[in-house]
C-alpha cells in the first residue's frame, strides 16, 4: 500500500522556512516592475563560479562558465525569444543582423548585418565573418560540438560586405534556429591566420575579441575573469560597468564567497543554503528556469552481451513495476524538500514544446508492482529477492560521486526496489569514470541528469534509434519505431500545435514503456545580492539579458564605484 503523507506539526514547522522562501521567490523572481533607466549605468556584478573557463571560442566551449562568458563576449545574428520558439523566426530578435529576408522557397535567408557593428578591436563586423564562422564550425578539423547541429546549412555566400546569405539543404522548421542559435559570429581577421586544427590550442582562443556588449578586460587563470562594458557598442552600452567571474575551485568555496559578500551571485544553491537566505537583508534567492531533468535511465541492452536485451531491465513489465515502486514525491521531499519539482516525463516542463503536464503517469503502487512482477514470472525467493529462470532480479545503479542529490536518490531507489523484491548494487564512481561507463553503454541503470536545448530535435538524439551509437546520446539504446516516427514528424512539423501533439505522443509512448523513472527537474536556485536588479530569466541561459541588469545609484558599494577606468 502507498504510504500516507500526513504531516505532523513538527514537519510543518520544519518546512516553514522553505515555504516562506519559495513564496518570496515567487514574488521576487525578477525586477520587471521598474527598469534601470537613465542614470542607472554603472556597477559591478561578481559571479562566484566553481570552474574556470577553458576557452573563449564559442564553437569549442564545453563548460557552463565557457557558455556564460562567450555569450557575453560574442553576438549571434539573432536571439531566441523568451518563449524559446524554434520554428521559423517567430519571436527572434535582431542582434548582429538588423533584419533578414527569406527566399520564396525558404531554402535561403539573407541576413543584413548592422552597419554599426564593430569588433572589440574596432574593426567592422562584415558578412565575411558570418561565412567564416559557419565554415569554421562545419570544418571537421575543428571538432566543434555544434557541427552535427548545423548539417542542414549547405553554405553561406557573401552578397555584399553587409549581406550574408545562408543556403539550406532542405526546408525544416528549425533551420533559422539552427543557424542563429548554434553559431556565434567570430572575427575572421583575428582567427583566419591560425590553422583550424590549431585553434584548440592557440593563444588566440583566449583573447575573446567579439562584438558583444561586454569585452574581455583581464583573465587571471584559476582566479578571475573580468569583462567590462563595451561603451561604444552598436546595441548600446550595458547597464553594468563590469562582470567579474570569481573562480573558486570547488562548490563550497564558491558558496562561501557569496555568503561572505565577496560575490553577488551564485548560480546553484542547495536546499540548506536557500533557508539561510531567509531574513537576509543583503541577499535573496531566485528560482532560475531550467531545461534540465533527471531520471533513472534503464539500459535496454545487456552490457555484458551487446546486441542482446538486458536480462532484467530489457523487460517492459519489470521496468513498469520498478517505476510503480518509486514514491517520487516522497523522495523529492527527502532530497530537496520544497525547492525542486517532480519530473513529469523525459522533458523539462519549462520547454514550451514539451510543457504538457497532463501526460498519464505510472502511479506509485507497490502492491500493483509486486503483482506485475509475479505475473511476469519474477517470483520472490527465500531472501525476498525475486528470480526468474534462475536469474535474480538484480542490477547495479551507476551514479557520479560528485552529485550528492543523485547519490541520495540512488540510495532511496535501492530501498524502494528492495521493497518489491529487486536487489540493487550501488555503483558510484568519480565523474570521468561514470561518464566512461555511460558513453560505452557499460551499465545496468544510471542516474542521468540531462540538459536539453530548446529544439525538439534534441530529443531525437536521446530517445530515437538514430541516437544510438557514436552520432547520438541515446545511452540506454532505447528503441521504439513509433517514437522514431513521432519525433521525425515533430521535427518536421511547421505548425507548433502539431509539433507539440507529435512530441506529446512520443513522450507518452516513452513513459508507457517506462524507459526511465522520471525523478526530478533540476532545481536551479541562485543566490543574488539585493543590489542587483534583474530582468526576466530565459530558461536556456539565465544570463542572456545580463547586459540589462542594473544597480541603482543609491545601492552601490565600493566595487560598483570604480567606474570605467581602464584595467591596469
Amino acid at each position: 500500500m502507498p504510504r500516507s503523507h500526513c504531516l505532523s506539526l513538527r514537519h510543518v514547522k520544519r518546512l516553514m522556512p522553505f515555504v516562506i522562501v519559495i513564496a518570496v521567490l515567487a514574488c521576487k523572481g525578477t525586477d520587471t516592475a521598474s527598469n534601470g533607466g537613465p542614470g542607472n549605468f554603472g556597477g559591478t556584478i561578481v559571479i562566484a563560479t566553481p570552474s574556470d573557463a577553458a576557452t573563449l571560442l564559442p564553437p569549442l566551449m564545453s563548460s557552463i562558465t565557457d557558455h556564460e562568458v562567450t555569450d557575453l563576449l560574442y553576438d549571434r545574428l539573432a536571439d531566441i525569444g523568451a518563449d524559446l520558439n524554434t520554428v521559423g523566426d517567430k519571436g527572434f530578435t535582431p542582434v548582429l543582423a538588423e533584419r533578414w529576408e527569406w527566399s520564396a522557397d525558404s531554402l535561403s535567408i539573407a541576413f543584413h548585418i548592422n552597419p554599426h557593428a564593430k569588433w572589440h578591436d574596432g574593426q567592422p563586423v562584415r558578412a565575411n565573418d558570418v561565412k567564416f564562422s559557419v565554415n569554421l564550425i562545419k570544418d571537421p578539423a575543428l571538432g566543434s560540438q555544434a557541427q552535427p547541429l548545423i548539417t542542414n546549412i549547405d553554405s553561406i555566400s557573401v552578397r555584399d560586405s553587409l549581406t550574408a546569405v545562408a543556403y539550406f539543404k532542405k526546408r525544416v522548421p528549425d533551420q533559422f534556429y539552427d543557424l542563429v542559435y548554434q553559431v556565434s559570429i567570430l572575427p575572421e581577421h583575428i582567427l583566419a591566420n591560425t590553422p583550424v586544427a590549431q585553434l584548440k590550442t592557440a593563444e588566440v582562443g583566449r583573447r575573446g575579441i567579439g562584438s558583444g556588449r561586454f569585452r574581455l578586460a583581464k583573465w587571471e587563470a584559476g582566479a578571475r575573469l573580468e569583462l567590462v562594458a563595451d561603451t561604444l557598442n552598436y546595441r548600446g552600452r550595458p547597464k553594468l560597468d563590469r562582470v567579474v567571474f570569481s573562480i573558486a575551485p570547488d562548490f563550497n568555496a564558491a558558496v562561501t564567497r557569496f555568503f561572505a559578500g565577496d560575490a553577488d551571485l551564485f548560480e546553484n544553491l542547495r536546499a540548506e543554503q536557500v533557508t539561510r537566505l531567509n531574513g537576509d537583508t543583503a541577499r535573496r534567492a531566485v528560482r532560475l528556469p531550467s531545461l534540465g531533468y533527471n531520471y533513472l535511465a534503464m539500459n535496454a541492452i545487456d552490457p555484458a552481451s551487446p546486441g542482446h536485451p538486458h536480462p532484467v531491465l530489457g523487460e517492459r513489465a519489470v521496468r513498469r513495476a520498478l517505476a510503480m515502486a518509486v514514491d517520487r514525491r516522497a523522495m523529492l521531499k527527502n532530497v530537496f524538500d520544497t525547492i525542486a519539482s517532480v519530473a513529469y516525463g523525459p522533458f523539462p516542463h519549462s520547454m514550451p514544446v514539451a510543457s504538457d503536464t497532463t501526460l498519464p503517469q505510472i502511479p506509485y503502487d507497490t502492491t500493483k508492482a509486486k503483482a506485475l512482477l509475479d505475473s511476469a514470472g519474477w517470483l520472490a525467493g527465500p531472501d525476498g529477492i525475486r528470480a526468474k529462470n534462475g536469474r535474480r532480479l538484480e542490477f547495479a545503479v551507476t551514479s557520479p560521486s560528485s552529485s550528492s542529490a543523485r547519490h541520495k536518490y540512488a540510495v532511496l531507489l535501492q530501498d524502494a526496489f528492495r521493497r518489491v523484491g529487486a536487489s540493487v548494487k550501488l555503483d558510484e564512481s568519480d565523474f570521468p569514470s561514470y561518464l566512461a561507463k555511460i558513453t560505452s553503454h557499460n551499465f545496468d541503470a544510471e542516474m542521468e541528469s540531462f540538459n536539453t536545448d530548446p529544439s525538439v530535435s534534441g530529443f531525437k538524439q536521446s530517445w530515437t534509434t538514430a541516437g544510438i551509437g557514436s552520432e547520438g546520446t541515446n545511452h540506454t539504446s532505447y528503441t521504439n519505431p513509433t517514437v522514431d516516427a513521432l519525433f521525425d514528424s515533430a521535427t518536421t512539423a511547421f505548425d507548433p500545435a502539431r509539433k507539440k501533439a507529435y512530441a506529446r505522443r512520443a513522450f507518452e509512448t516513452i513513459m508507457d514503456d517506462a524507459a526511465g523513472i522520471w525523478l526530478y527537474e533540476t532545481p536551479t536556485i541562485a543566490g543574488i545580492s539585493k543590489r542587483i536588479h534583474t530582468t526576466p530569466f530565459r530558461a536556456d541561459a539565465y544570463f542572456a539579458d545580463l547586459a540589462n541588469w542594473w544597480i541603482p545609484a543609491n545601492e552601490r558599494n565600493a566595487r560598483d564605484k570604480i567606474g570605467l577606468r581602464p584595467t591596469p
Binding site: P140, P249, A260
Partner: protein, 323 residues
C-alpha cells in the same frame, strides 16, 4: 664528495623516472579520459569525442603515448593541458609562484613557532606548561587539515568577517589599489591559509623539537657544561639548542618539498590556485599531461629536498661523512 653527488643525482633520476612512469600508467589506465571529461555537453556525440582523441593521439596504445611524452619532456615540453586548454608550462608558471608564496610563509612561520614552543616545553620537562602545551599540540596534530581549514574559514571569514574567504586578492578592487593597499590586500588574503598551514605544521615541529631538546638536556656533556659554571640558559643556547636543531634541519628540508607541491585541501578551501589546486583538478579531469607533469615536478622537488637536507646535515654535523 663529487662521487657522492653524482651517485645521488643518478639515484634521484631513477626515482623520478620510476615515479613519473608509474603515475603516467596509473592515470592512463584509470577509467575515463580527458576528452570525455571536458566534452560532456548534451549535444556532444561520441564521434566528436573520437575526433579529439585522435587529434591528441589518445587513441594510440599507452606505450606509444608514453614514448611520445618522454620525447617531449626530453625537449623541455611538458605538453598541453586539456582541462585548461593551454600549455602545461603556462599553468605551472601561474601556479608555482602562488604555492611558493603561501607555503614559504607557512613554512617559515611554522618552524619559528614550532621551535619556540618546543623550547618552552623542554625548559621544564613534564612540568605543567609542558603537559598543557603537549595536549594542545596533540590535538592540533590530530586535526585533519580540511576540517581545520573549514573551521578557520567559518569563524574568521563568515562569522567574524575579519578576513576574506579566499582567493589571491580582491577580485575587483585589487587592480585599482595603490601598491601599499595591494600589499595589505594580498596579506589579508594570505592570513587564513597561512594560519591553517602554520598551526598544522608547527605542532609537528614543536613535538619534534621538544623531544630532541629533552634528550640533549640529559646528556653527559650538558651536565659537564653546567658543572663548568655555565648558566642554564647559556648552556641551552650554546650547546643544547644547536645540537637539538640538527634533526629539525632534516624535517625543514623534507617539508620544503611537501610545501612546494602545494596543500591540496588548504588551497581548495581557500580558493588558492596553486599547485595543490592544479593537481587535484587535473586528476578529477583526467588531464594526463598536467597530472604527469605535476608528479614530475613534485618528485624532482622531493628528491632535491632530500639531497639538500643530507648536504646541510653533513655541513652542520662534522660527524656525518658523505660517501
Amino acid at each position: 664528495m663529487r662521487r657522492y653527488l653524482v651517485l645521488r643525482a643518478l639515484q634521484a633520476l631513477g626515482v623520478v623516472a620510476f615515479i613519473t612512469t608509474l603515475s603516467f600508467m596509473v592515470v592512463h589506465l584509470a577509467p575515463g579520459d580527458p576528452i570525455g571529461s571536458s566534452l560532456q555537453g548534451p549535444n556532444v556525440t561520441e564521434a566528436i569525442r573520437q575526433h579529439w582523441r585522435a587529434e591528441y593521439g589518445l587513441d594510440r596504445p599507452v606505450s606509444e603515448q608514453y614514448v611520445r611524452w618522454v620525447r617531449l619532456v626530453a625537449h623541455g615540453d611538458l605538453g598541453f593541458s586539456f582541462s585548461q586548454r593551454r600549455p602545461v608550462r603556462d599553468v605551472f608558471a601561474d601556479a608555482i609562484p602562488r604555492t611558493l608564496l603561501l607555503s614559504g610563509m607557512a613554512l617559515l612561520l611554522s618552524f619559528a613557532f614550532g621551535i619556540a614552543v618546543g623550547v618552552l616545553q623542554a625548559e621544564q620537562p613534564n612540568g605543567s606548561r609542558d603537559r598543557w602545551l603537549g595536549r594542545v599540540l596533540l590535538l592540533l596534530y590530530s586535526v585533519p587539515d580540511f576540517w581545520l581549514a573549514l573551521m578557520v574559514l567559518l569563524l574568521f571569514s563568515l562569522r567574524l568577517r575579519l578576513f576574506p574567504p579566499g582567493g589571491l586578492h580582491d577580485a575587483v578592487l585589487y587592480d585599482y589599489m595603490t601598491p601599499p593597499q595591494q600589499l595589505l590586500d594580498s596579506l589579508k588574503h594570505l592570513v587564513l591559509p597561512v594560519l591553517t598551514l602554520t598551526v598544522l605544521s608547527s605542532a609537528v615541529v614543536a613535538r619534534h623539537q621538544r623531544g630532541e631538546l629533552v634528550s640533549v638536556l640529559s646528556s653527559d656533556w650538558m651536565r659537564t657544561a653546567l658543572a663548568k659554571g655555565l648558566s642554564w640558559r647559556a648552556a641551552v643556547r650554546r650547546h643544547a639548542f644547536r645540537n637539538a636543531l640538527l634533526p629539525t634541519i632534516t624535517i625543514f628540508f623534507a617539508n620544503i618539498a611537501v610545501f612546494a607541491s602545494g596543500s591540496i585541501f588548504v588551497e581548495k578551501v581557500f580558493s588558492w590556485p596553486g599547485m595543490g589546486y592544479v593537481t587535484v583538478t587535473a586528476v578529477a579531469a583526467r588531464d594526463y599531461p598536467l597530472v604527469t607533469a605535476g608528479v614530475l615536478f613534485m618528485s624532482v622537488i622531493v628528491v632535491t629536498g632530500a639531497l639538500v637536507a643530507d648536504l646541510v646535515m653533513a655541513a652542520a654535523d662534522p660527524r656525518i661523512r658523505l660517501r
